[in-house]
């Protein structure tokens, strides 16, 4: 009797574990499928253009000549600019929340910043298109145009272009970077701060010479993760970047990113070669994102030695 029951327990256990394992294996299959589908669907384009695809500057669906360079340029240019804009603001927020804000203020402001991260990309996009772009066109870009001896501020202020896209993307990655930096800076032991104070440092010196250096690999992880988000950002960028495949240093010029090219052209692509070239663009974006994300997570993981930082 008892032996029989134990057997049925074992069977239940085995069945349950088997089922759980099966579902976990599905995740592996999905991971494999993602890579396989991207590679096989871009095969046609890869066979025709080879690695020249990466350096080609022409994108002509009618002639079926495809080169990815303007899109790669636009993606990295806007994301890098966005990162430069977002970094000081994010660090400021993290420092404010961990070192300066009174206890009762930390929770609400932290929640507001989480909300900022939860707002859909489209909402940033429509706001950027109808509110920010006109402001940039009439005020910000004409002002910056006075510095037209720099190659960044040449051209006609259009409102829709690299600059507006970068500012919008910066706004979208500030919550990511500041939330993770805040978590990382919370983990700095108070004894470190007290040590600094005991040596006669001012409170700011404790931040800049103790807290930030102590958490630098975590902050770097947060920054790289934010960069990864910026690279893949689609809808908001598509709505404000102007969508013109062009390589230019000027921030006023319209540009194009990989993701916005996909958003605009994929549904309308008719020829097999066009679809294949677009999928290859997606494959490039996929590889860049995976490499950057993995690198960021390694940094954060090393920082925490396995401790979880939420929001990563």
């Amino acid at each position: 009797m008892r032996i029989g029951r134990e057997n049925s327990h074992n069977e239940g256990e085995r069945a349950f574990k088997g089922l759980i394992m099966l579902f976990s294996l599905i995740v592996l299959v999905i991971g494999g499928l993602v890579v396989y589908e991207l590679v096989s669907a871009s095969d046609l384009s890869f066979k025709k253009f080879g690695f020249g695809f990466l350096l080609g500057t022409q994108w002509d669906p009618v002639q079926e000549v495809f080169g990815a360079l303007p899109f790669i340029w636009g993606t990295f240019y806007t994301s890098t600019l966005a990162l430069l804009l977002a970094l000081p603001v994010s660090l400021g927020i993290a420092i404010f929340l961990t070192e300066l804000a009174p206890g009762w203020l930390r929770q609400p402001i932290g929640f507001v910043i989480e909300l900022l991260a939860a707002i859909p990309s489209l909402v940033y996009g429509i706001w950027g298109l109808f509110v920010l772009a006109p402001i940039f066109q009439t005020y910000v870009e004409p002002f910056l145009g006075r510095f037209s001896f720099l190659p960044f501020f040449t051209g006609y202020p259009l409102g829709l272009g690299i600059l507006t896209a970068s500012v919008i993307v910066a706004g979208m990655i500030v919550p990511t970077i500041s939330a993770i930096s805040r978590e990382v800076m919370y983990t700095v032991p108070d004894s470190q701060r007290e040590g600094g104070l005991a040596l006669g440092m001012t409170r700011w010196e404790v931040v800049s010479k103790v807290v930030v250096p102590y958490s630098r690999s975590g902050i770097l992880g947060a920054v790289i993760l934010g960069y990864g988000r910026a690279l893949g950002e689609t809808m908001a960028v598509t709505m404000v970047i102007g969508n013109t495949p062009k390589i230019s240093l000027s921030l006023f010029e319209p540009g194009y990113t990989i993701s916005s090219a996909l958003a605009n052209e994929f549904a309308e692509a008719v020829s097999k070669m066009h679809v294949s070239a677009l999928v290859e663009l997606g494959l490039i974006l996929f590889f860049i994102s995976i490499i950057i994300n993995t690198f960021a997570k390694l940094l954060l993981w090393r920082m925490n030695r396995g401790m979880k930082v939420s929001g990563v």
Binding site: I20, V89, I113, L122, I126, T234, M239, N293
Partner: protein
């Protein structure tokens, strides 16, 4: 004397830097209220009963709404959740309760890689997988794309929640002779229930506002459709198409759609927070 001067300068630098960080935090909060306030004012003027009950009208014909897109969004996100939640929760159980050794590491790594897939790339995968083999855009392919985005979010949040369940509870159950799988079902999942729901709701909020993966999978549709094998309208895609159109009336409806999306995200987030606070496991 000199030392005192230098100390004063150091203090002033400190105050200045702290003032700048306060300014950064303040600006961010203000920008949030600016965006929310603007969407609220613009959106509220375009929002009426028709928005929720009528089909879109052709250009130039006044009135109409986005009823089909709202229903479409619910359908596409719902199907995505039906696919992603069971796989995600089961994988999280494997990782937290059984996960030791090489296989667990590979699964965890794969989930991490999937979480780095940009939304638009998930759309391409669903396109290659479903749309090109079916030969047309479909609601189902949109769900596949969204499920791909939801899966890693659910795996991670569920695993984190399962790990917060105190080991003493598992041990107590096992010591009473309850087999491991019943312990997981009755103790671990039950204790983690609140957090699990929170994670699922946040995942739904995340993908519910996505348009990128739906543009060339679910596509869009000006008419009623609930069949999974046909193109379907969704709120985010409709918002995008209306916002980039040249028509004033469509812009108004795009703002209204933005307000509905923000409202959905806020409600799900606040609800999730509240649910988590109320049901947090207390050892």
């Amino acid at each position: 004397m000199n030392g005192g001067m230098r100390y004063t300068r150091r203090k002033i630098t400190g105050h200045l830097m702290f003032a700048l960080s306060l300014f950064a935090a303040l600006c961010t909060v203000l920008v949030l209220f600016w965006i929310l306030g603007y969407v609220f004012i613009k959106g509220a003027s375009g929002l009426n009963l028709d928005f929720f009950t009528k089909l879109p009208t052709p250009v130039g014909v006044p009135g109409g709404g986005m009823a089909n897109a709202i229903v479409g969004s619910i359908e596409v996100v719902g199907m995505a959740a039906l696919m992603a939640v069971p796989i995600g929760v089961a994988t999280a159980i494997y990782l937290s309760e059984y996960g030791r050794g090489q296989l667990a590491n590979v699964v965890r790594f794969t989930a991490d890689v999937l979480s780095g897939v940009p939304a638009i790339v998930a759309g391409i995968v669903a396109y290659a997988l479903v749309v090109s083999s079916m030969g047309r855009f479909s609601a189902f392919s949109g769900s596949v794309a969204l499920a791909l985005l939801m899966l890693p979010i659910i795996i991670r949040s569920a695993e984190e929640i399962f790990l917060t369940v105190p080991n003493t509870l598992r041990e107590a159950s096992l010591a009473l002779g309850v087999p491991k799988w019943r312990t997981i079902m009755k103790i671990v999942i039950a204790t983690a229930g609140g957090g699990l729901m929170t994670g699922i709701m946040l995942a739904i909020a995340r993908v519910g506002g996505e348009a990128a993966p739906l543009l060339f999978t679910a596509f869009s549709n000006s008419f009623w459709n609930i069949r999974p094998d046909q193109p379907i309208a969704t709120l985010p895609v409709q918002l995008f198409n209306y916002a980039i159109s040249p028509y004033e009336d469509w812009h108004r409806k795009a703002w209204a759609a933005a307000l509905v999306l923000i409202f959905m995200v806020l409600v799900l987030n606040v609800w999730a927070k509240w649910y988590a606070l109320r049901n947090s496991p207390k050892g």
